[in-house]
């Protein structure tokens, strides 16, 4: 029986080969060939595309995207951890409602939610109208780096709250009670028990926020204006506007490598391999 059900996966293996392996291979191929090569006959292998990336301009864009993504991830962690903790310590019926309220916004189109922030932050937006009403000067909020960071925090914070909540809710309450009985104060209990046990959730939260944040191109475009370009904007521009597939592919490969490296670093911290609150 077991041997025969193996064949069930064969259609998907064929599918994967065509639609997952082949495209990845094509991206790699474009990244190591020059623009002049057309067709199989005159293919020119080169590392020029990768070298071009080490131009200070592009390195700055990469550095900038990673900084913005890291700041957003940190803010998500600082805001999300207490929220996850509060949810996990409330009683069951309330807990489900709170979780539901965290997930519900994700059911609304992400672009639309981001666009709504333009209405709030804009020069004639709600905040500025309010400031004017109470006699203050207008503040430039939209099209700033702060707006980009806020947009990322807004869009990705549920991805931080949910895994931390999962890790915290699996925690054995007995451990905390035991520590309390043995005379540990609240700070020690948090530092020595709650925090280490919730680490797997924190790690998956960091990965799940950092990854989409570093590669997004919608949020910086809508909320950050064109002023600060992120790596995602650069890739989009190269493919859609400039049609420079070779350089675009090289940057995509670099971004993939960065994400794989940061994921494996994060996984190193994750001591508990099995019981943690992984994505799956």
């Amino acid at each position: 029986m077991k041997d025969r059900t193996k064949y069930f996966s064969y259609p998907y293996i064929v599918w994967m080969t065509i639609f997952i392996i082949l495209p990845s291979f094509l991206v790699l191929l474009y990244s190591i060939t020059s623009k002049e090569s057309n067709g199989i006959t005159t293919i020119n292998f080169t590392l020029e595309n990768y070298k071009l990336f080490f131009d200070p301009m592009y390195i700055n864009i990469l550095f900038d995207s990673m900084t913005l993504a890291a700041i957003s991830t940190l803010i998500c962690l600082i805001l999300g951890y207490p929220a996850a903790y509060i949810i996990s310590t409330s009683n069951i019926s309330k807990r489900n409602t709170l979780l539901f309220l965290c997930i519900l916004p994700m059911w609304m189109n992400m672009l639309l939610r981001t666009y709504a922030w333009m209405t709030i932050l804009g020069n004639n937006g709600l905040i500025n109208n309010f400031l004017e009403m109470i006699g203050f000067q207008k503040v430039n909020l939209l099209y700033t780096r702060g707006a980009t960071v806020m947009g990322m925090v807004y869009n990705f914070i549920p991805f931080m709250i949910l895994p931390i909540y999962t890790a915290l809710s699996k925690m054995d309450i007995g451990l905390i009670e035991a520590a309390d009985d043995l005379g540990a104060d609240k700070k020690t209990i948090f530092r020595k028990i709650i925090l280490p046990l919730s680490m797997p959730g924190v790690i998956s939260g960091i990965i799940m926020v950092f990854m989409p944040a570093v590669s997004t191109f919608i949020i910086p475009q809508l909320l950050g204006g064109n002023k600060n370009m992120m790596i995602g904007n650069l890739i989009e521009k190269l493919f859609i506007l400039n049609g420079d597939w070779n350089f675009g592919s090289a940057i995509s490969i670099i971004m993939m490598i960065i994400i794989l490296i940061s994921m494996s670093i994060m996984n190193k911290f994750d001591v508990d391999k099995e019981g943690g609150a992984r994505l799956w």
């Binding site: 029986m1 077991k2 041997d3 025969r4 059900t5 193996k6 064949y7 069930f8 996966s9 064969y10 259609p11 998907y12 293996i13 599918w15 994967m16 639609f19 997952i20 392996i21 495209p23 990845s24 094509l26 991206v27 474009y30 805001l79 709170l98 539901f100 309220l101 965290c102 519900l104 916004p105 059911w107 609304m108 189109n109 992400m110 672009l111 639309l112 939610r113 666009y115 709504a116 922030w117 333009m118 209405t119 709030i120 804009g122 937006g125 807004y154 914070i157 549920p158 990854m211 570093v214 191109f217 919608i218 995602g232 989009e236 493919f239 859609i240 592919s249 995509s252 994400i259 799956w280």
Partner: protein, 259 residues
């Protein structure tokens, strides 16, 4: 006691942050004026106009049909694949699982451009089909990942018992395995549907002439100002989701109670 109030206030602030843009959108869908920012009066104008807006109606049609078709196909493909992968062993299994994981870990933008390169290299015309295929590609790994844990929990003795009692492998699959992993299949389907409805980046790179989805329409409007009809549409969609969730929640509560 103070702590309780503090945590209540904290959660309230988090939810105000999460819901303020949604509430703003919903309120402005009833605004008479087209411009966002100033309120000129209450009206249902945009809800009525929604039924005449061809662009939005077409986009809604494409979004829902692609989400539905891709979710169904990925569920079938993914269920079969998960059953197959589960009975594999060793290196091949881990290689397949890792490849399957690729669209999940890869940033959407990389998946998007990779597929765009593939279609153009193979001379496939960009349009409805490419968008549908792309959605199946990024949905299926999630379906597989939600079914595999259920298969691992499955008691192999049950299928063996069924076959000892004379069931053919196919019959055992239909009557034993599928019912047991049904929760995983349903989760996978719902996840696929949601991911597809909400997708922008992959659709953006694999769309063709005249075929758009709601996200792309919103994106192209965002710079010039989104038509309030979109606000109206999303208010309706969110209300529908909210009602569905409440109904599902009440039903499962009722089932729990009757047990």
């Amino acid at each position: 006691m103070v702590k309780k109030y503090l945590s209540r206030i904290y959660m309230a602030i988090i939810f105000i942050f999460l819901y303020s843009p949604i509430i703003v959108l919903a309120i402005y869908s009833f605004n008479e004026s087209k411009s966002r920012g100033n309120w000129t009066g209450f009206s249902f104008k945009w809800y009525l106009e929604l039924f005449q807006d061809r662009d939005i109606k077409m986009a809604l049609y494409y979004t829902v049909s692609i989400a539905l078709i891709s979710a169904i196909i990925s569920t079938i493909l993914g269920t079969a694949a998960a059953i197959g992968i589960n009975s594999m062993k060793g290196k091949i299994k881990s290689i397949i699982l890792n490849i399957n994981y690729l669209p999940v870990v890869n940033p959407d933008i990389v998946t998007g451009i990779a597929l765009m390169i593939l279609y153009i290299s193979l001379n496939i015309k960009l349009g409805f089909n490419t968008m549908l295929i792309s959605h199946i590609i990024f949905n299926t790994p999630y379906v597989i990942l939600s079914i595999l844990p259920k298969l691992r929990q499955l008691d192999t003795h049950m299928t063996e018992a069924a076959m000892d009692l004379g069931a053919t492998p196919m019959y055992a699959l239909r009557k034993v395995i599928i019912p047991e992993i049904k929760p995983g299949i349903i989760t996978g389907f719902l996840m696929a549907f949601t991911l597809s409805i909400d997708d922008f980046i992959i659709s953006y790179f694999t769309k063709g002439e005249g075929v758009t989805n709601l996200s792309i329409v919103i994106y192209s409007m965002a710079r010039r100002g989104v038509r309030p009809t979109i606000n109206a549409l999303s208010t309706i969609m969110l209300t529908v989701v909210l009602l569905l969730m409440i109904i599902v929640n009440n039903r499962s509560n009722a089932i729990e109670k009757s047990k």
